[in-house]
């Protein structure tokens, strides 16, 4: 519960130190064709949207396209956002993730699948804005929660979310019997959720 509020309302501080924008409010206004609100929403979330896209698709040029595509979809469907069903940031990143996953699945030629997840699993550089500082606090929280997972849960969640692989592919990659990777993914996410206190 506490965290949903945080995702929705406690967006990164703008550089002038003014109070953080309310993402849900910006999204709602964007849904009424308010381009200024949409620009503010972009500024507050672009690094997370692009960072996720980059992490999944790997290729910087494709990641840019995914980020662009995701934001256009966010604009197009903004009126469908319902704050009662989840946070604005969660909604944005759900769209982003799906867009990124669609991209990697349709582009078999992507070089990303040639090298292993672990080798490429390095952190992306943060810029030195207040957003990065805020993000690093949250990141610390996420990493602590990740540490509560079993090894196989952590790997399964990482391959599914950051790798963009299907649970069937994850099972193969982790030498798990077919059908058990989905359970590991679910168990891992539930444990993360509870460790981070994400309400539903």
């Amino acid at each position: 519960m506490e965290h949903i509020r945080r995702l929705g309302g406690d967006a990164p501080l703008p550089e002038d130190g003014a109070s953080p924008p309310d993402l849900a409010d910006l999204l709602k206004r964007a849904g009424r064709a308010d381009e200024t609100a949409f620009a503010a929403l972009y500024d507050a979330t672009a690094a997370r949207v692009h960072g996720l896209a980059l992490r999944v698709v790997r290729d910087p040029a494709q990641a840019e396209e995914v980020t662009q595509e995701a934001f256009l979809e966010i604009w197009r469907t903004a009126s469908r956002f319902d704050p009662a069903r989840g946070s604005a940031l969660g909604w944005l990143l759900t769209i982003t993730h799906r867009t990124a996953v669609d991209r990697v699945r349709s582009a078999e030629a992507s070089s990303r699948r040639d090298s292993s997840y672990h080798q490429q699993n390095q952190p992306v550089d943060h810029d030195t804005t207040a957003e990065a500082a805020q993000a690093s606090l949250e990141a610390h929280r996420v990493r602590s929660a990740m540490a509560t997972l079993t090894e196989v849960q952590r790997e399964a969640v990482g391959l599914a979310y950051f790798g963009g692989y299907t649970h069937t592919e994850v099972a193969k990659m982790l030498d798990l019997p077919v059908g058990t990777a989905k359970t590991r993914i679910r168990d891992g996410l539930i444990r993360l959720r509870d460790a981070m206190g994400v309400g539903s």
Binding site: R48, A63, W75, A132, A139, T166, H167, L192
Partner: protein
């Protein structure tokens, strides 16, 4: 097929193929528990993106803001006057209450009343929507599940099953209410369907629980085999 609930995590992080997605979305339409779970797991997954933030090139901002002016926005979803939809919302509320009530002491695996797409008779709907409705769900190995929802105010109980395998040849699933002093009293025979909703016969307000047994076709006056499922209404403990 079976174990469809177990797909909630993979679905929440898009780790499903197109066929699985379609199947799970059909399931989502009728499973309030999975809807709530998917929502919470998507929030959780979004948190993971906090570890990967990377600012895009500034030129991208200009492109995006230029492009949106050429894209017509979807209208908001307008609530349609559809009874089934209203029914679902109210069920969700009942579900939340049921979770709290059933939590302690009973041999409950999970609690999950789910909305019903088959538009059951009104008595069934009344039980499912009753303010005092309590649900107990049992999950079977293999992914099938059965839920009994009872309302003391209405004196009735409803059994819902999901992904239930058919009974052995020549047999039926029979449902019983456990009545103090009388034992297992027949409460109905389940039609052979994977997913179904059955209003139980008998006074659920006095019953301490319900059970399911496998019986010869036509049913029996008293159980002739060990129950495959027992639901505790949580009165004694």
């Amino acid at each position: 097929m079976t174990e469809i609930h177990a797909l909630s995590g993979a679905y929440a992080v898009d780790a499903v193929d197109d066929l699985e997605r379609a199947a799970f979305e059909r399931h989502l339409a009728e499973c309030a528990e999975c809807r709530a779970e998917v929502a919470s797991l998507r929030e959780t997954a979004a948190m993971l993106a906090e570890t990967t933030a990377a600012a895009p090139p500034s030129a991208l901002r200009d492109r995006v803001l230029a492009d949106i002016t050429t894209i017509r926005q979807l209208p908001p979803e307008v609530p349609t006057a559809q009874p089934v939809r209203r029914h679902r919302v109210r069920l969700l509320v009942a579900a939340a209450a049921a979770v709290v009530l059933v939590g302690a002491g009973t041999a409950v695996v999970v609690t999950q009343p789910w909305a019903d797409e088959t538009r059951p008779p009104s008595a069934t709907v009344q039980v499912l929507e009753a303010p005092d409705a309590q649900s107990t769900t049992l999950e079977f190995p293999g992914g099938a599940s059965a839920t009994v929802t009872h309302s003391d105010e209405l004196d009735r109980a409803v059994l819902q099953t999901e992904d239930m395998p058919p009974p052995p040849e020549g047999k039926v699933y029979q449902v019983w209410l456990d009545q103090p002093g009388k034992g297992m009293v027949p409460a109905g025979v389940m039609p052979v369907e994977e997913d179904q909703t059955l209003l139980l016969e008998g006074d659920a307000a006095t019953a301490t629980g319900a059970g399911i047994t496998v019986e010869p076709e036509g049913g029996s006056p008293a159980p002739t085999s060990e129950p495959i499922a027992l639901f505790d209404f949580g009165r004694s403990a």
